[in-house]
């Protein structure tokens, strides 16, 4: 079996499995110009959001880190940044930080251009040139170890922890153990009930303690609401699928991380370190937010292990959906990439399920479009910490 894939090398040394140009908004008031630019220029991805203005500093840092993470993602060739006016998430600073990675970047400011039409003209011109330049790149052979494997779950049910999460765990540890790649999973509130066992997998006492502290911090935030979290965690669709409490959901969810050592726990949207192994990103369990965070962390692809089926996806970081629930392939058929339910209700084994998933991963990292990519499905939601001001 080949230990390489065909990818796009970036000037910063990272290797992408796609060759996208992104158009990034720094504030809600630039979103429409970003969307219009991406509508006009083929093969561009709009990054829009409601943040970037009138936020407290922890949110400003998080928003900035996430936007920069996308603009400098291994799958991204170059980026056009569109700002509205003077913002606390500064467009020129963002474009300069993107350029520091060697990627083409441009900064367009609606006020400075004296209006949306002028800004659109410049953004379209810049994006068009980048897309044409990007199209000249060819895929080249690179070691599989260059890959960071993102993991998330979506509309989990009781089949998740019994079947498809085992397939995901087998695939991610194959990348780590056999090829020196990296894995990253997230969704800290979905460690509730399993946090001690998870923390025991940490490579150091410091990481062990930090995992427990971050779990406790999330529980404290939920207690401060004065309400029972049930309904938000687990969600109504989780409960329809048989999950009774957040503990049950968590213990199932943790199965997808396997049993090997945890190198570190990183902040939301932080770049995953280069040292091979498994990492945790501290995110909420809200799928759109955790997937957005992992994308900013630089995972070239993600496996979304779903119970009841889901449209959860990301345009920059392709999402491969695997299920072990024989019903979910019927509920969201166009976005169920790998159905391993024969390992749950048929005669196949969990090892077989892991191999099915691995084979699809190899296809996708070499260029095959996922169901979500082919459908043009994507969500982008940066987790917010505090109030708007």
């Amino acid at each position: 079996m080949s230990d390489t894939f065909l990818g796009y090398e970036r000037p910063d040394g990272s290797v992408g499995i796609r060759n996208h140009v992104v158009v990034v908004s720094t504030a809600p008031y630039a979103n429409d110009t970003v969307k219009r630019t991406a509508d006009i220029v083929e093969n561009t991805i709009p990054i829009t959001h409601p943040l970037g203005r009138c936020q407290t500093k922890p949110d400003v840092f998080q928003t900035y880190r996430t936007l920069l993470g996308y603009a400098t993602h291994p799958n991204v060739y170059g980026a056009v940044v569109v700002a509205h006016a003077g913002e606390i998430v500064d467009g020129d600073e963002l474009a300069a930080d993107i350029a520091d990675t060697g990627r083409p970047s441009d900064s367009v400011n609606i006020h400075a251009e004296q209006g949306v039409m002028n800004a659109l003209d410049r953004a379209v011109d810049s994006a068009r040139e980048m897309v044409q330049d990007a199209s000249r790149m060819r895929r080249e052979e690179h070691p599989l170890g260059e890959l960071t494997f993102g993991i998330n779950c979506a509309t989990s049910d009781t089949t998740s922890g019994l079947c498809q999460h085992h397939a995901t765990a087998r695939a991610v540890w194959k990348l780590i153990d056999e090829y020196d790649g990296r894995g990253v999973f997230a969704e800290t509130p979905e460690f509730f009930g399993g946090e001690e066992e998870l923390a025991d997998r940490a490579v150091s006492e410091a990481v062990h303690d930090e995992i427990l502290e971050r779990v406790e911090h999330w529980n404290d935030r939920l207690l401060a609401t004065g309400y029972d979290v049930r309904g938000a965690q687990p969600t109504p669709d989780n409960m329809d699928g048989g999950l009774t409490t957040i503990e049950e959901k968590s213990l199932g969810a943790l199965v997808k991380s396997g049993e090997g050592p945890i190198q570190d726990i990183v902040d939301y949207g932080e770049r995953i370190p280069e040292t091979p192994g498994m990492y945790i990103m501290d995110t909420p369990g809200h799928g759109a937010e955790s997937v957005t965070g992992i994308g900013a962390g630089g995972a070239q692809f993600m496996v979304i292990s779903t119970g009841q089926g889901h449209t959860l996806s990301n345009a920059v970081m392709p999402t491969i959906k695997v299920t072990g629930n024989p019903g979910s392939a019927e509920r969201v058929p166009e976005q169920t990439d790998v159905d391993v339910s024969e390992a749950l209700v048929g005669d196949e084994t969990l090892d077989w399920a892991g191999e099915q998933l691995w084979d699809e991963i190899v296809e996708v990292v070499n260029g095959k479009l996922t169901g979500s990519e082919a459908m043009g499905e994507s969500q982008f939601a940066i987790h917010r910490i505090g109030p708007s001001t």
């Binding site: 009781t158 019994l162 957040i246």
Partner: protein, 107 residues
């Protein structure tokens, strides 16, 4: 022979996950560790939902994956459907946080 569609993850678990539709009145055999337990099903259990494999007292821990997934809010006889109506969580319980029993929240 034990029913392969009623899955008990660890021998210490007191619930099984049904990966088929189970009907009230069925007599089922469930593998719990080395032992096969015969259980009379008391109510219908949907695909993916849980069934008690032994009598569980009110307040007792519900165990799956060998770990607590919450506590029984009422007595749950073997063969009963186990779900949100008879199990409560010990996490994210902001509703209990200000009360006397708040210390139970983070066990």
């Amino acid at each position: 022979m034990a029913d392969r569609y009623l899955v008990v993850v660890k021998p210490s678990d007191n619930v099984a996950t049904a990966i088929r539709e189970v009907e009230a009145g069925e007599t089922v055999e469930i593998q719990v560790g080395d032992e096969v337990r015969t259980v009379e099903v008391r109510e219908d259990v949907q695909f993916g939902h849980k069934i008690a494999v032994e009598d569980i007292d009110e307040g007792e821990t519900i165990t799956k994956y060998g770990t607590s997934i919450g506590n029984a809010t009422e007595p749950i006889p073997a063969g009963t459907w186990v779900h949100a109506h008879n199990v409560e969580s010990n996490y994210g319980r902001g509703d209990l946080a200000g009360e006397e029993n708040a210390q139970a929240v983070h066990e």
